[in-house]
């Protein structure tokens, strides 16, 4: 768990005047699933392309398996698997041929390759679609083929760049389960996404990016615990007067309370049994109310607190 697989130090990538990645550093350790979370355009894919030596960069250092990465670092490349954001397969080859073609770039031995291809197809649930051309596959199956092409050679480092974009929930769950399984089998994984639920579900460590910079890093629990607001209670009601809001703000652990015309939104900074205390106050004052919902903080709240904007903006 301590061995460093990827080390990125002070990476800077500019597109003319625009800075896409700004002094970005991180480390992926053996057996980790590291999530790179950030909105579209935050620099995730650019970072991945720099790591893979597809893109040149202006400053910084990229070390993979203790060696400097370069376009000709074939020994490093042979241990990396990539599942790119867009489906990257050959339209004229069928499912089996696609996986075989890309696997063949890594595995020279025919028998071994055949076995690996079969295993990748089995793993992604494509065994029944071997003869299908990519155009005949559904969106979910196409994504699975994209994954099969990236992992067939059994790499020890796998980079998933938003693999679930435009995928139905069922296929998405299958993909996430597959990633966890690959990790259990020993692969270290970098997973980029702008879906916070996915990142929260599978990543052991999360790195939040915005405007090419790292804005937060830690486990999902650590990140959420770092927030001021730890719980949010929403109570539906037609109207409310300012005195009641004032009273609620005075309740222990209430950080803020405001009425948006339909709901009273109460933000709390910790404590226990907060809902009970609020309901006791409502009962005592005989205040009528409708539905009640409570929400624990999400990574979106973390992003919102740090950057002042929604993750999906």
């Amino acid at each position: 768990m301590n061995e460093s697989i990827v080390k990125v130090n002070n990476l800077v990538k500019r597109y003319k005047e625009k800075i896409a990645v700004d002094n970005f550093s991180f480390e992926l350790k053996q057996g980790e699933i590291l999530g790179l979370l950030g909105p579209n355009g935050s620099g995730k894919t650019t970072t991945i392309n720099c790591i893979l030596s597809l893109l040149s960069f202006d400053k910084g250092e990229i070390i993979i398996f203790d060696k400097a990465m370069s376009p000709k670092a074939y020994d490093i490349k042979s241990k990396i698997g990539v599942v790119p954001q867009n489906v990257a397969v050959m339209d004229t080859l069928n499912v089996y041929e696609n996986v075989d073609f890309f696997c063949g770039l890594y595995i020279k031995e025919k028998q071994k390759r055949r076995q690996y291809v079969e295993e990748a197809l089995e793993f992604t649930g494509l065994s029944d679609y071997k003869k299908y051309k990519p155009k005949k596959l559904s969106g979910g199956l196409l994504r699975r083929l994209n994954i099969a092409c990236g992992i067939a050679h059994k790499p020890s480092l796998i980079i998933f760049d938003e693999p679930t974009v435009a995928v139905d929930p069922q296929s998405r769950n299958a993909i996430l389960e597959g990633i966890k399984e690959m990790n259990r089998a020993g692969a270290s994984i970098i997973y980029t996404s702008h879906y916070m639920e996915e990142v929260e579900e599978i990543c052991s460590r999360i790195l939040i990016m915005d405007h090419g910079k790292k804005v937060a890093e830690g486990s999902a629990t650590d990140l959420k615990n770092s927030l001021k607001i730890r719980e949010r209670i929403c109570i539906g009601m037609p109207a409310i007067n300012d005195d009641i809001i004032k009273d609620i703000k005075a309740i222990n652990h209430v950080y803020d309370a405001k009425f948006d015309g339909k709901e009273l939104i109460i933000s709390l900074d910790g404590g226990e049994h907060n809902l009970v205390h609020i309901l006791e106050y409502f009962s005592e004052k005989n205040i009528p109310f409708g539905h009640i919902t409570t929400k624990l903080p999400t990574l979106n709240d973390v992003f919102l607190e740090i950057t002042g904007k929604e993750l999906r903006d």
């Binding site: 597109y15 392309n49 030596s53 490349k77 867009n86 050959m90 004229t92 890594y106």
Partner: protein
């Protein structure tokens, strides 16, 4: 690894339907259209002279010398040709009437010591009729001059005429190629340059700045240039096969002769196919845009083909007069010229020069492509 890339490239190319359409079917369709347009003219023996129907009208007395000359020309030769077929008319009006009705090609009208040639239209026949008169008049003038100045030399002149000395040696290239075959040579050139599409398709699959699959390929530890050269070989074979189909179709189905042994024509088109593929490789290494990768090969092919005479027969000669360098750097012209040289004159130095230019062009295109494509990372993709 090279063979693997080669077999997968071949597999991918034969499954591209547009490629089958443009590279295999379109040249066949165009060849058929050319055949319908001027197939019969090509089938005619280009060396054969039709007998000229001519009238002889003596306006003020028969010139027996001239009459005996044209009578001589109206006799059948050993190879069963005769140059003239003479019809006598009593009056010029009758002869003109026959000329207007196209019963005869021309009239020799003799009056006031001159022989006038009357034709209804200019062409090969009118030129031949005039030339006969000019030759006759030249000999006549020579005799008169020698008789007046050196009458003792008249016997020498007679002897020379009888021996029929000629300082021009006839060489028979034994080809009988029609000038219209130029269109088919240009068609083969166009078909070969269509190969540039094949290589841009190969490049698209293998370059990270052109496609997603290219990104996946460049991320892998595979040797990019090896894969590209395997693709080039597969493309060349496929394009050469397409050309061979066109060559056989023209020769055996349409019944038109290329003017050279068919295996030799196929051999030259293999070189032309490699040239088309190399040009495409260069285009694929320069341009990043998918639209450009489709349009540039098409524009390049059609422009080169136009200047090689695909749409306008005499354009090569016009260019040769005004900018001969253009003919030397236009791959379609170099190829059509090599075929023309082979068909008309055999393996001359001009033919070998054309082959060398094609080989140089292939080498140059590939060398520049290799310099651009060497394993690298990109500023943006």
């Amino acid at each position: 690894m090279f063979f693997r890339f080669f077999s997968y490239s071949l597999k991918q190319l034969v499954r591209m339907r547009w490629l089958v359409g443009w590279n295999f079917l379109f040249p066949l369709v165009l060849a058929s259209a050319f055949y319908l347009g001027f197939g019969n003219m090509i089938k005619d023996d280009p060396n054969r002279l039709d007998t000229i129907e001519v009238a002889y009208v003596a306006g003020d007395g028969i010139n027996s010398n001239f009459l005996s000359v044209i009578n001589e020309l109206s006799k059948e030769t050993e190879d069963h040709n005769k140059i003239l077929d003479i019809t006598s008319f009593d009056s010029l009006d009758e002869a003109k009437d026959a000329l207007n009705k196209n019963n005869i090609d021309g009239i020799y009208y003799q009056h006031d010591d001159t022989i006038e040639v009357i034709v209804s239209e200019n062409g090969l026949n009118s030129t031949s009729l005039s030339q006969i008169v000019k030759s006759y008049q030249n000999y006549q003038a020579s005799f008169e001059k020698i008789l007046s100045e050196k009458p003792e030399e008249i016997n020498t002149l007679m002897a020379n005429m009888e021996s029929n000395q000629s300082f021009i040696k006839k060489h028979d290239f034994n080809t009988g190629v029609s000038q219209y075959m130029q269109f088919f040579y240009a068609l083969l050139a166009m078909s070969s340059l269509f190969g540039s599409w094949i290589s841009t398709a190969i490049m698209t699959n293998l370059c990270a700045n052109l496609s997603e699959s290219g990104k996946r390929f460049e991320i892998a530890p595979g040797h990019k240039l090896k894969a590209i050269f395997a693709g080039i070989l597969a493309g060349t074979i496929l394009q050469a096969l397409s050309n061979a189909v066109v060559i056989c179709y023209v020769e055996y189905v349409l019944g038109l002769h290329w003017g050279a042994p068919i295996c030799m024509v196929i051999a030259i088109t293999i070189l032309a196919s490699a040239l088309g593929i190399s040009v495409g490789t260069l285009i694929g290494s320069i341009f990043k845009n998918q639209l450009a990768l489709s349009m540039v090969p098409l524009a390049f092919t059609m422009t080169c083909s136009f200047f090689s005479g695909l749409m306008m027969g005499g354009i090569q000669q016009i260019i040769q007069n005004f900018c001969p360098l253009l003919n030397k750097i236009n791959p379609a012209t170099v190829f059509t010229d090599s075929l023309y040289q082979l068909a008309c004159y055999g393996k001359t130095s001009a033919y070998y020069e054309d082959l060398c230019i094609m080989v140089l062009m292939i080498g140059l295109c590939l060398a520049i492509s290799v310099l651009i494509l060497r394993r690298r990372n990109y500023d943006s993709i």
